[in-house]
Symmetry: C2
Subunit: 215 residues, 2 copies
């Protein structure tokens, strides 16, 4: 009944289990015993690898954020793609969970996981906004946008997207949602000082297919 593994492997096992459990039942709703059983380890083992239950959550968030920011950076660096498309993709990567093909975000937007949610959002706000702001500056050089506050603009956009495009949207009809998105695009254009309608191509994302699959 004694299975020894390398520390990192165990750590990841625990994180994977916790990820799934927190997703299903929330942080508070998941007991450490749940995690123990799922991984098949004893109490001591868990607390050998993590100093507390919250420590597990923090590690989970860290892991998630790294993936998310890496994805965003990668998108931003693809210089062959037009700036506005890159911006769109980078923003999309926040709500849908990046190219990795995981569905972590879904779970996080539940009243239960408020703290996790908050921690992630802070990290996103501080991590993604600079990336986006750089893209905006690129757009400004190209004459696409015109604003003295690229950073603060994106901060606003991301904060809004975080607050509203999470869970709250679910209980809207398709039509209402469409209006919401139209208004969003319109407002972003104004914020960026973009030509009216120049970002409307974004709408395709929501009406038509799910992007183009390339990466």
């Amino acid at each position: 009944m004694r299975i020894v593994k390398e520390a990192e492997e165990r750590r990841n096992e625990i994180l994977d289990a916790a990820d799934e459990l927190f997703s299903q039942k929330g942080f508070d709703g998941t007991s450490t015993n749940d995690i123990l059983e799922k991984v098949g380890i004893a109490r001591g083992t868990l607390y050998y690898h993590f100093k507390s239950k919250e420590d597990i959550m923090d590690a989970l968030i860290e892991r998630y954020n790294v993936r998310l920011l890496d994805a965003a950076r990668e998108i931003a660096a693809e210089k062959s793609v037009p700036v506005n498309v890159r911006i769109l993709r980078a923003v999309m990567a926040l709500n849908m969970s990046g190219g990795s093909g995981e569905e972590i975000m879904e779970h996080i937007h539940k009243p239960q996981n408020a703290l996790m949610h908050q921690k992630i959002q802070r990290a996103i706000l501080n991590g993604v906004v600079p990336i986006l702001a750089d893209l905006i500056r690129e757009g400004i050089e190209q004459g696409l946008f015109k604003t003295p506050f690229p950073y603060e603009c994106m901060e606003m956009v991301v904060a809004y997207a975080n607050a509203v495009f999470d869970g709250d949207m679910v209980e809207l009809t398709d039509e209402e949602r469409l209006t919401r998105i139209q208004a969003f695009v319109f407002n972003v254009e104004r914020l960026l000082g973009a030509e009216s309608g120049s970002l409307m191509f974004v709408m395709q994302m929501f009406t038509g297919g799910e992007g183009d699959g390339h990466e």
Copy 2:
């Protein structure tokens, strides 16, 4: 050792105690025992008046939201005051805690109280935005603003204010904060289609005194 009071009085005693404790130590950090001791009642009494610990939080939030929204509505109704000033005051009433002279909000913005924070923000977003949107429409009629999406504009503004002007700002220098606010005002002007500089009077609030004391 047995003190009998009217239900509502006890309820409020409990809420007041919980308010203070949650503020200091957060929701999870506060045990029901803490509350019992502070109020000076027995376990059973607490659960006679509230069905759970979270029920206490919800009641607390409800109480807070009512005050906040009432304050906002009152401000908005003061037709003798120019629209843009009313808007400003209504927004201010969100972060500073309205005219009532209480300091609830201060506490709420702590990593601990994530859930409470979240619940309040949702309520604010759904409650205050319509009030503000009406003010914007009034401003549109007067030719101050020009936007097809008054509601969504304010939604964005409030969401941003909630996300960024909470706690995050604390660790900034005065100068950085000023830039932040300048950018904010600038962006709001753009969103509302207001004349450039027409909302800059807001800056006085942050540089100069704390408003005019009238109500």
